[in-house]
Symmetry: D2
Subunit: 223 residues, 4 copies
């Protein structure tokens, strides 16, 4: 998938790490149905905590935005995360027999904490683009994984999950955020951003967040 | 009006400053129609810039929230500000002959800048409650002014403005935010918050933001 | 004076505002001794509050630094501000009959608050360069004013103040910070920074902080 | 060791995690000399990266300070970290055959990154006390470990390390920071801080940072 020029460049720079993330054993287990249910449920409960902090990071992007347009799309993302995605997690977990109360009291794993605090800190200490580069791997990676699994999945109990991230709704979000990032990069680094000395640090944020995604899947396999 | 127990206490602590803000000559001019149109339009254009930064401050509150409930209400406020209030300003200014382009390029007055940067910095350097105390005077003051002018206004060209802030929609927002703040105070300072050593600094934030509102009205009278 | 290439470019972009700041009536009154003592003492007490928040902004620069070298110089600046400059203010105020206690309880004027909160917020919401551009006018302006007054001053009771900012110690700080900023700009925007789309916003921060310096001098003349 | 009343309470609340940190296999290996040199050198290079970010977090504490006294001690800590501790690491690593260049390019391990970003984010999103609670386990834990190993160590090549943290210099820092924290807690939460609803979240920050210290030692054993 291509969600924009900047994404393509960052993904390319992340190289093997990107493949290790999007073609992780956890992902393949979701696609062919071999992932144990306990691992999936464990992942979902950790992802619930993740979404809380990830929403906070998207809210920080509103604060760091440079225009009403940037604010608007970041605010729409915060709302989708808080009102749709977190609600979906509560629902799916309820189906899996996990009450909302249990969900609220789940203990955050170090791999989970490392990821969200890295993203938030990159945003607080850096600027809007630093934050975008750290947020991008989660947004676009799930888009790519969803689109791929939609084509390749076998008989799997995780079809709902695949439908969510391959669906038009989520895919549109990816394209919109891809366009937002392309515009934000053009506004701040110009038409040839790879020549900017700041480019390397953006690639580093994208790469580090990709590696932290790999760590998150690894953790998912260890309920 | 009472938008909650915390608001009442903060308002009382701000004393004469609160009255100087909510019963300002600018406000009275809106109510009796004596405010020159040039002053009102000047105020609206500055308020447009204000809303941009005020929305950023409410987004920061999402980042600093301690629960999904706090996030949810702060996110709803950000959306109301970005999607309704900013849009309303663009519309009202268009009616007054100010194009969106002019609005985008209006020069921020020092009294305007002082206010929003104070609020944002209080939030960045402090915690969720510090930010709430600095955000509160604008939210509740406009609610109170709207409700008062609704009862007292004469023949005035600014009836739409009065209707907006006295309307059920805006008044509901005030009650919801008042309840959010009461709960946030209880969660952090307990049932007797005025006994907490932190209480004084919250009152200071509320009082300072109130004084900066007075400065904003003063500026409004000097187009 | 030239404290570096970046400073020269920012100063040029600020145009008349820079002159209005560095050749302000307050400054001329310091040089020819015509400034009323009450105004000078009022300025000093406000400057004490200013230094507290300005030190906090330089500390934020350490947090936002990209290398140990950047951290080191910013930390040296914080120390000079806290240990030397604030101490000097306490001493000079004591000579003027203002106790440390009075100094601690001085009420911050809006023009003072506007300036430091603007700088801090620019740093929190932006990156290291945004913060440097907002910090620069105070550092370099006082260096320039000191150097100019050293050559031009008449019989004035404010010679100590002139000696402080024209002295080797303060001038060295200006050159070091000028070099730090030149390097920071090169590291982030490359060898032709004026071509970067980010350049305009750096000039805006420098210009706004310059205008807030003018407001500070204006306030100084109104004890 | 007791570095103050607040530390005692936080340490007690962290329970077994505190013991798992201060009596970790890595620590015992330092004391009895059984720790492989490769592990020690690996730890030192990661600790160099750690100190960079830890210094940034102490600088953030200056920005979030509520008084000149708090600023002063936090600034002294930043200086000790940047000028002494980082320099010491460069020196010790040089003795171990690691050039400054290698040190600069060491890849940050996830366990290292998780810790410093957690502390920084706790500071950015919370207030001064949240930051202190997250900073405390490193400061006081090394003080306690140094003091304990001084009494119990055998023939070990790591005696210099033990001398550093058990030495008067470092122990004084611990007592000063302990007093700073006691005062900061009294100023904000009053004389009975454990009754404050905020107390639990401070204990959580201390506990989480303690667990991240355990993760850091674990990582140290895996060069």
């Amino acid at each position: 998938m291509s969600y924009g020029r900047t994404f393509e460049l960052w993904r390319e720079a992340a190289g093997d790490n990107w493949r290790a993330y999007t073609d992780h054993a956890f992902v393949r287990g979701v696609g062919d149905g071999s992932l144990p249910k306990a691992a999936f449920v464990h992942y979902l409960t950790q992802d619930y905590v993740f979404l809380f902090h990830f929403s906070r990071a998207w809210a920080l992007a509103i604060t760091k935005a440079g225009s009403v347009e940037e604010m608007r799309l970041c605010a729409a993302t915060v709302n989708a995360l808080i009102n749709d995605e977190i609600a979906l997690h509560i629902e799916v977990c309820a189906d899996a027999g996990i009450s909302e109360e249990e969900l609220f009291s789940v203990e955050e794993r170090p791999e989970n904490l490392a990821y969200t605090r890295y993203v938030l800190e990159a945003g607080y200490s850096g600027d809007f683009l630093d934050l975008m580069a750290a947020l991008a791997p989660c947004v676009f990676g799930y888009g790519e994984i969803g689109a791929t699994l939609k084509e390749t999945h076998g008989a799997t109990p995780y079809k709902d999950w695949i439908d969510t991230y391959s669906g038009d709704n989520y895919q549109s979000v990816c394209f919109e955020i891809g366009a937002l990032i392309d515009q934000a990069v053009a506004d701040r680094l110009g038409s040839n951003p790879v020549e900017s000395p700041s480019w390397a640090s953006l690639c580093q944020h994208f790469d580090m967040a990709t590696r932290l995604e790999i760590g998150f899947w690894d953790m998912g396999l260890r309920p």
